[in-house]
Amino acid sequence: MIKWIKTHKVFTAVFSAIILLVIIISVSYFSGTGFVGRGVNSANAAVAGPVSSVGDGIKSGIKGIFGFRGLMKENEELQEEVDALKREITRIQLEEKELEELRQLANALNYESVMAEYKPVTGKIIAMDQSNYFSSFTIDVGTESGIIENAVVVSGNGLVGRVSETGTGYSKVISVIDDTVNVSFQVSRDMNILGVVTGDGAGKIAGYTLDGSAGIVEGDVLLTTGIGMYPEGIEIGRTTGVNYNSDTQLMTVTVEPAVNFKNLRKVMVLL
């Protein structure tokens, strides 16, 4: 046997590597990556952060050179937006007093908002997954900022996903368009319409309502319900298609995510 191995060194090495890799795949499937994975990820995050910043800098430079007209147009749009926001500020200032009164009332009734329980930690995306079709990414904050597994990740526009793994200096985030993420929803127009959405395996979100006769329509805004790990009231997306499935007797929905994952650079982790 030993003689055979000596005469077939390369074959033995390759065959051993295949067996070893199959064992590694099985171990990672059943028990995750463990301390080795956390160590490698922390080291990678330390290097990937600066590299990613260089990439972002080059991207904005290229955008500035080739997109001058676009930037001018964007500037005009932003000016209009500033004007609109100034008007909005005036209106909000008027409502602020009313809000303060409501807060005092809430305190008097010992009511605490769900969102008020959470402390947001901002993280920058430093690496995307390499597969081109899975939808996870790495951010530059980890256990040192108090981030834990399954912490909810949001952006200014809505729900992004949840933390799947965390370590020193990094956290991996699985987005809501991943087919392993299930989120219960309610329709903002009619909070009695409930359902579940998940990634459809093709980069979008799809799901169904719990009531087959629910009056959900195209364009409805879906919010999280607070059932499970996601706090109530975070926008998931907007329905782009509604169909009645006669086999399951449920209304199936396709949803355009509220968050544009293609241009996402920073996210907030709710702790």
Partner: protein, 167 residues
């Protein structure tokens, strides 16, 4: 090529793969640099094991950092390196067309392999979605392979335009 140089090339490819390369993504698809390197090294350095050693090593690291399960890409790169080495023994290794053709086949096989593995591990990614991505990924990988070819061919065959040159 010395192993330490090959290591540095693979390390550089790994570092820019998930970070810097996103700047150059087309239709939200980035080329697979490690796969391109595995195919090229398997073809050009058939007597050494750069592609197998570093394909497996950086496949494991990439899986640990970016993917859900560890070892899948690594096993894929290993099998691709073996297939490319076997194919390279019957065709002209130093021809650009050979490299590009093998890159096309490797890209398609690797994507389907990853989908099959994840399918059996419970993923519901649509095969049509994966195949759809190939329309961008294959030309992109081919372009990267052509670029790498022009860099490395001069080091593999120094006087390739000299018809009297014999290795």
């Amino acid at each position: 090529m010395k192993y330490r140089y090959a290591f540095l090339i693979f390390l550089f490819a790994f570092l820019i793969q998930g970070t810097f390369l996103n700047v150059f993504s087309l239709f939200h698809t980035t080329p697979n640099l490690i796969l391109c390197l595995v195919v090229m090294f398997s073809l050009f350095y058939e007597k050494q094991l750069h592609a197998i050693v570093f394909g497996v090593l950086f496949g494991v690291i990439a899986d640990l950092c970016f993917m859900q399960y560890t070892g899948i890409s690594s096993l894929g790169y290993l099998l691709l390196a073996l297939c490319t080495m076997a194919a390279g023994s019957t065709i002209n290794r130093e021809n650009l067309a050979t490299l590009l053709l093998l890159t096309v086949f490797s890209t398609i096989l690797f994507q389907i392999y990853v989908w099959v593995m994840y399918f059996f591990l419970g993923s519901r990614i649509s095969i049509l979605y994966v195949l759809g991505k190939l329309f961008v990924l294959v030309p992109y990988n081919v372009a990267v392979a052509a670029f790498l070819y022009h860099i490395f061919i001069e080091r593999v065959t120094r006087f390739r335009n000299d018809r009297y040159y014999y290795r």
